[in-house]
Symmetry: C2
Subunit: 132 residues, 2 copies
């Protein structure tokens, strides 16, 4: 069962925006979109984003500096994330593949380092873009 997080006002505004957009969003585009709701400064956006990432409601796509709503409604893991990114249209989707996540969560090497978290980004051409 996923822990319930009561989102604060700003967190809710920003999560709803990202979630409804269904697309990756940039921080300053989010800022622009929520200014009518009274959120006026970058820091207000970044603070909400930080919290939402922390609790796993959204993820940051590091190679693109964008944020998307978690598409794995059942998973509370912001510690084991995998995405596919189309290099042509920049479409992003979250990969939820239990074999992959098991493989990576159990991965260890000779470094003696214990991995508690990972982020994986796959790149390629999506179906739509390929057929063009």
């Amino acid at each position: 069962m996923q822990k319930e997080h009561n989102l604060s006002k700003n967190q809710k505004i920003i999560f709803d925006l990202i979630d409804k957009s269904g697309e990756p969003m940039k921080a300053y585009s989010i800022l622009f979109n929520v200014q009518k709701k009274g959120i006026k400064a970058p820091l207000q956006v970044y603070r909400a984003l930080d919290k939402l990432v922390e609790i796993g409601k959204i993820h940051k796509i590091e190679s693109r500096n964008v944020f998307i709503a978690c598409q794995n409604s059942s998973c509370q893991i912001s510690k084991a994330t995998a995405f596919s990114i189309c290099e042509s249209c920049e479409n992003v989707s979250e990969i939820s593949n239990s074999k992959l996540s098991k493989y990576l969560s159990n991965f260890s090497d000779e470094s003696g380092m214990k991995y508690s978290k990972y982020n994986l980004e796959f790149f390629g051409m999506c179906k739509k873009c390929k057929s063009k």
Copy 2:
């Protein structure tokens, strides 16, 4: 056999700096360090970095916005990268594990998307930091 790339003057200066440092470096720290060699503007640094990334001599650690020299001297792959990052001391090392790279290079799912590239970042505490 890896293709030989003749680095240009700026590319060589910047690659040598990163390679010798043995550490992840930030773009503006690189800039600061090469100013005595006549490289005065961010763009000169970013252009060299772009090229070096493209040919696989260095890699960008996306979650940190830093660059490190490729530690896999034998591999020409800038298309299949994996790193371990210590969240305490920010030490980064490149993982070269043939099973892992095979597994990920062959990964496919039902999306119909063909993945031509991936980047994986593992996070945790390195040996040194754990023992403190």
